[in-house]
Amino acid sequence: MIKVENLSKTFGSKRAVDDVSFEVRKGEVLGFIGPNGSGKSTTMRMITGFYPPSAGKVSVCGFDVSENPIAAKEKIGYLPESAPSYQEMTVLSFLNFAAEMRGLRGDERRKAVRRVVETCHLDAVLGQTIDTLSKGFKHRTCLAQSIIHDPEVLVLDEPTDGLDPNQKHEVRTLIRRMGETKAIIFSTHILEEVEAMCSRAIIIDQGKVVANGTPDELKARSERAGAVLVTLHGTNVETVKERLSGIAALGHADVLQAQDGRVTVEAFPSADAGAEREALAGRIAEMAIRENWKIEQLKTEEGRLEEVFRSITMPDTDIIKGVA
């Protein structure tokens, strides 16, 4: 439903977005992650028709945003960064305005407003002017505006920014629910959100797409993906190390903790382990049973998105080891 092809945007000599291409289908929630100033908002502004692209094209539900902006914009609901709204209006009049702008009149309008007021829990503040509201309410008012016409495409720029944990949870649930029937793009720099809500994630850095995949695929790119964390009882560091070195698939092992006959080791599969990679945890378990050690915990790391994110967007710093 959203198709972005070779999209670029330059401001003066600065290239804010550089040859970005991706697609979002119906029923997909695409998470847009990247450091501040990486071009997330600029890309979203081009998708919603606010910025004309310097090169490339965007189409929404088959309508080219540059050539047929009105038709494209009718299909989109947009929550801009920092959730702007007309401060002197009441929440109700603001939502009425948004509904009318979307061509909803009379009964249709009343129904739409009632629906978003319920969805975004705004009934308590309907009669208040927006400038008297707390940040959470302001944010939800703007979010309500973006879904008032039940759009097929939703573009949300940092939808959970400035919300408290409960509100964040609510917005995430909402996005996940709407994601079943719409095409959604949202940006964030909270990585757990990507894991919680997205069916796909794109990492963007310095205007370029540097990674594109499901959260699991991205996590698998982490160096720790496939590493086995094990805590054993009734042994000592030397024996564990010695026995471990007998396992073929093992690359290297780091001892994380060792005291009172209790050893915690993180074992990394070797680079050429191939199919044996997945079997590493099993091999270690077999070994422990053979040696009659008690296994306190044994788990295969999925990899961490945060690590992937940092290793991709800050390749020069060796944080992966540092974190461990």
Binding site: Y51, K73, Y86
Partner: protein, 247 residues
């Protein structure tokens, strides 16, 4: 086509926004007080001894010079400062529709302000027997003059996020449009310039074109002048707004 409903929706919101803030009422009171003061005190309404609103309309350009930029300065600078421009222009509306809608709303507000001066019309009709056709022409001219200044304010407010700067720029441009046809200035100019040059320069002045209306003459050339300034300024507003986003 949903052009007019959309323009109507934006204009309605915009006009309501004036009355939701105390600024509108302050403006109306100041406008009415000043127009009264200019008419009766500076204009010498009673001393003139004629049943007309000459003293009322003569001062209108000078009154509008300060008040219209004050009304128009927030048109786009406020939207840009608050970021609501992003909200507005990503709704299914084109930039020119938004510009026209916001302009019409402010113009309607100024029309309301003008309409509220009706007591002077009643007064002059009660005191004497004026030519009401001339008075109507005067009002039409005033409204066009207000629209012209307003379109300039729309342009300057698109240039900056800062309302004060928008106000000052609009005031300077409007002042220029007044001064090139202001009698003391044209007299001074004619001392060292040819008469045709002075006339050409003066033909760009709102004063020159406003004069006809005060006499009760609706000249197409005057109408054309006001409308072309309005169209030009609004068009340029669009160019400026687009250039901010073009990068």
């Amino acid at each position: 086509m949903r052009t007019w409903p959309v323009i109507g929706t934006i204009a309605k919101r915009e006009l309501a926004a004036y009355f939701e803030s105390p600024v509108a009422y302050v403006f109306l009171v100041v406008f009415l007080l000043l127009s009264g003061f200019f008419t009766f005190s500076l204009g010498g309404f009673f001393e003139l001894g004629e049943a007309s609103l000459t003293s009322f309309f003569t001062w209108m350009p000078w009154l509008f010079l300060f008040l219209v930029p004050a009304v128009g300065m927030r048109l786009w600078s406020e939207e840009r400062r608050l970021g609501t421009i992003e909200l507005l222009l990503t709704m299914p509306v084109s930039t020119w529709q938004a510009i026209v809608a916001k302009f019409l709303a402010s113009w309607a507000f100024l029309a309301i302000a003008l309409a509220l001066t009706f007591p002077v019309v009643i007064t002059v009709n009660w005191l004497g027997d004026p030519d009401n056709g001339v008075i109507i022409a005067g009002y039409v001219g005033s409204l066009l003059l207000a629209g012209t200044f307003l379109s300039i304010a729309s342009l300057t407010s698109a240039l900056t996020r800062n309302q004060v700067i928008a106000f000052i720029l609009a005031l300077m441009l409007c002042l220029l449009l007044i001064l090139v046809g202001f009698a003391p200035v044209t007299t001074m100019l004619s001392r060292f310039a040819d008469i045709w040059l002075v006339d050409t320069v003066a033909s760009f002045s709102v004063l020159t074109h406003f004069e006809g209306f005060q006499k009760g003459v609706l000249d197409t050339r005057d109408l054309l002048f006001f409308f072309s300034v309005i169209v030009f300024s609004l068009f340029t507003t669009g160019v400026v707004l687009r250039s901010h986003r073009a990068g």
